[in-house]
Amino acid sequence: MTFAKTLRTALRALRRNITRSALTVLGIVIGIAAVIAMMEIGKGSSGAIAKTISSMGANNLLVLPGAAASGGVSFGGGSTLTLTAEDCDAILRECPAVKAAAPLVRARTQVIYKERNWVPQSIVGSTPAYLEVRDWSNLTEGEMFSAADVRNASRVCLVGQTIVRELFQGRSPVGEEIRLQSVGFRVVGVLSQKGANAFGQDQDDLVLAPWTTIKYRVSGSSGSGAAAGGSASASSTSNSVFPGAPSVFPATSAAQALDKPMPVRFANVDQILVAAASSPEIRSAMAQITDLLRERHRARPGEPEDFSLRDMTETANALSSTTTMMTNLLLAVALISLVVGGVGIMNIMLVSVTERTREIGLRMAVGARARDILLQFLTEATVLCLLGGLLGLSLGRGAAIIVKQLLRWPVEASLEAVIASIAVSAAVGIVFGFYPAWKASRLDPIEALRYE
C-alpha cells in the first residue's frame, strides 16, 4: 500500500468519526499549545534579559568601597571612603584586561526646570569614560562633557530620555539650565534611550554630570559633606585632588578658593564602574583589579580588602538563569501534559481497534497484510497527533500574543519551538499509536470477521 493511499485511508477513517477524533486529540492540542506558549514567553523573557544585560554595559564590573561582609563584621558597601579617582585611573592604566573605567558619584535630589520639578532615579557624576563603560555610545543630541569639565567641576550635564519627557515635555533641553539644589547646570547633551535594566529600573531617568561637580557642588551627594572640613586648606591641596593635570588649572586665588570650596583629603568616589575587555577576561580583570587595589591601599597579605568587586553581568545572568529555570519547569509540566495526551490517544486508539475489529478482519480478507494494518493505524494516530499539534501550535501562538498584548510580557516567536512541537506531536502519535496498531495487526482474520 503506497504512502499516499495509507494517508488517504487514515484521513477517511478519522473523518468517519470526527467528534471522537477531535476529543481524542484535545490533550495533544493543549499540550502543544502550552509548550509553544511557554517557549515563546520564555524566549521573549530571556531575549529581553539579554538585551537588558547588554544595555547595562557589556562585561561590567563594579568596584565598591568597604569589604564585602567579612569575618562577621561588615561595614556595608560605601561605609568607608576608600576608593579614589586615582584608583580609577590606575585600574585603566595598569590592568590589561580592563577596557574602560569610570568613577561614579551618586546623588539623589530634586531637579528643577522653570516651574517643573522631578526627582530622577539617579544623578550620576562621572567622567567621559562613563559612556564607553556603559556601551552608551550615541547621544541623541548635543555632546558629552569633556575631561576639562571634570577637572573644572563645570556645571554642565547630560540628561536621559525620561528627564526630557518629564521636565522638558519632549522639547529639546540642550542649552537650557536645570537646577539641582540651587546649583544651575547647563544641559549639553541628551542620552539615547536604553530602557529598563535587569532589575526593572528605568535607565533613562538619569542626570549625568562631571563627578567633581556633583561631589563638590551638589549637597546631598555622598561626598559633599567632606567639603565642610577643609575649606581653609583647599588651595594648597588642589594638586593632590586633581593629580596629573595641575597645569590646566588656573592658579586659584584665595577669593576663588573661598567661592569654590574644595575638598581636602577625601577625593573619594562612591563606586568605580569598569568594563572588561571581553567577557572571558572578566575573571582576569577582577584578579588584576584586586591585586592593584590591594597594593594601592596597602593591604597586607591575609588582611581583608577595603573594597569589593561585583560582576554585574553575573548578577544579570543569575536573574536570567532564574527565568530560564522557571521556563524549563513550565516546559516540563507542558511536556507531562503531552504524555498524558499521548496516553489518551493510546486509550482511544485501543477502543477504536476493538470497535473496528470486523473492519480489520475484512481488510485482511481482501488482502491487507499485517504490515498494512499496522501502518494504517499508526498513520491514523500520527496524523491525528500532527493535526492536533498544528491546532495546538496556532492556539499557543494565540496565547503568546494575548500575553504580549494584555500583560505586556515580551514574547518571541521561535522556529525551533514550531519544529520541536511538530516533531513532538508526531513522536507522540508514533509512540502511543504503536501498541494499538500492533494489536490490530496481530488479529486473526477469521476471529476478527466473526467478532460481534
Binding site: 503506497t2 468517519r16 475484512l362 481488510r363 485482511m364 488482502g367 497484510r369 499485517a370
Partner: protein, 250 residues
C-alpha cells in the same frame, strides 16, 4: 494436463481446545474446475465454514495440500496468503461486512489499495463504477450502507469481491440475512457473474433454494464429503424478474 482451479488432497484441520483435539476436517479430497458454480451444504457443524476458510486462504489446514490456480497454498507465508486473497479470491459474507459511513464506490475500491501492482486512482474508480453498474447500483454509488437495503448492501459486497478480477468467489451464507425475494436477486447476480465473467463461485448454504441454483452440490458430514452431485440449476433471473408471489397476492 492442466490442473483444475482448485485441487484439495486429503485436507485435515484439527482444532486444539485445551488438551482436547477437535478434528473438524477429516480428509477432504476434491477438485473444482474453472467456471463451475458449486454449493457447499451439510448439517450445522459439519465443517463448511472451516473448509471455506481454508479454501479462502484465511486459515491453514493441519495437513494435506491445496492448489489454487497453480499455486500450492499450504506452503505460503502469511503475507503470501494475503497476496493470494487480494489477487485470486473474492469474499461475500453473510453479514455483508461493509465499512460504516463509507460510500458504495469507496467500498468497492477498497481492496485495490492493497494491490501491489500500481493501479491508478482513475482506473480504480472506473473499475468500481463499472462493477456497481453491473450489480444494478448505478444510482447508489455515493450511498453509505445505512442508506442501502440488505440486498443492495450484498450487491455492493459482490462488486467489492469482484474488483480485483479474481478467478474464484467464495460466499458463506450470502443470503442468510436476506428475505426470499432479495435472495433471488442476489442469486441472479451470482449466476450472471458466473455465466458472463466465467468466475468460479462456491456458495456455502443451508438453504435448499440457494443450493438448487447451482450446478453442483457438495455435501459435507462430520468433516468428510458425503456426496458430490451434479444438477440442473434453477434460474433465479426469471423468478426475480417477476414480482414476488406474496406481493402479487397483496
Amino acid at each position: 494436463m492442466p490442473r483444475p482451479l482448485i485441487q484439495l488432497e486429503d485436507i485435515r484441520r484439527t482444532f486444539h481446545v485445551g488438551d482436547i483435539d477437535v478434528p473438524v476436517l477429516r480428509g477432504i479430497t476434491l477438485c473444482i474446475e474453472r467456471g463451475e458454480m458449486v454449493a457447499l451444504t451439510g448439517p450445522s457443524g459439519s465443517g463448511k465454514t472451516t473448509l471455506m476458510n481454508t479454501l479462502g486462504c484465511l486459515d491453514r489446514p493441519t495437513s494435506g495440500s491445496y492448489w489454487l490456480d497453480d499455486e500450492e497454498i499450504t506452503r505460503l507465508t502469511k503475507d503470501g496468503r494475503a497476496r493470494v486473497r487480494n489477487r485470486k479470491i473474492g469474499f461475500v459474507f453473510q453479514s455483508f461486512n461493509l465499512l460504516p459511513r463509507t460510500t458504495a464506490l469507496e467500498q468497492v475500491m477498497m481492496p485495490l489499495s492493497y494491490t501491489a501492482s500500481g493501479i491508478t486512482d482513475r482506473e480504480a474508480r472506473r473499475r468500481a463504477e463499472d462493477l456497481l453498474v453491473m450489480v444494478g447500483l448505478s444510482e447508489r454509488m455515493d450511498h453509505t450502507p445505512s442508506q442501502l437495503s440488505g440486498g443492495q448492501q450484498q450487491r455492493v459486497a459482490i462488486a467489492r469481491a469482484l474488483v480485483n478480477r479474481p478467478p474464484v468467489l467464495f460466499a458463506d451464507e450470502p443470503t442468510g440475512n436476506l428475505d426470499s425475494r432479495t435472495t433471488l436477486e442476489v442469486l441472479a447476480m451470482l449466476q450472471r457473474v458466473n455465466a458472463e465473467e466465467g468466475i468460479t463461485i462456491i456458495v456455502v448454504t443451508h438453504d435448499p433454494v440457494v443450493a438448487g441454483h447451482t450446478r453442483r452440490n457438495i455435501r459435507l458430514r462430520d468433516g468428510l464429503v458425503e456426496s458430490d452431485t451434479a444438477q440442473t440449476p434453477l434460474l433465479a433471473g426469471v423468478a426475480a424478474a417477476a414480482p414476488a408471489p406474496e406481493e402479487a397476492a397483496a
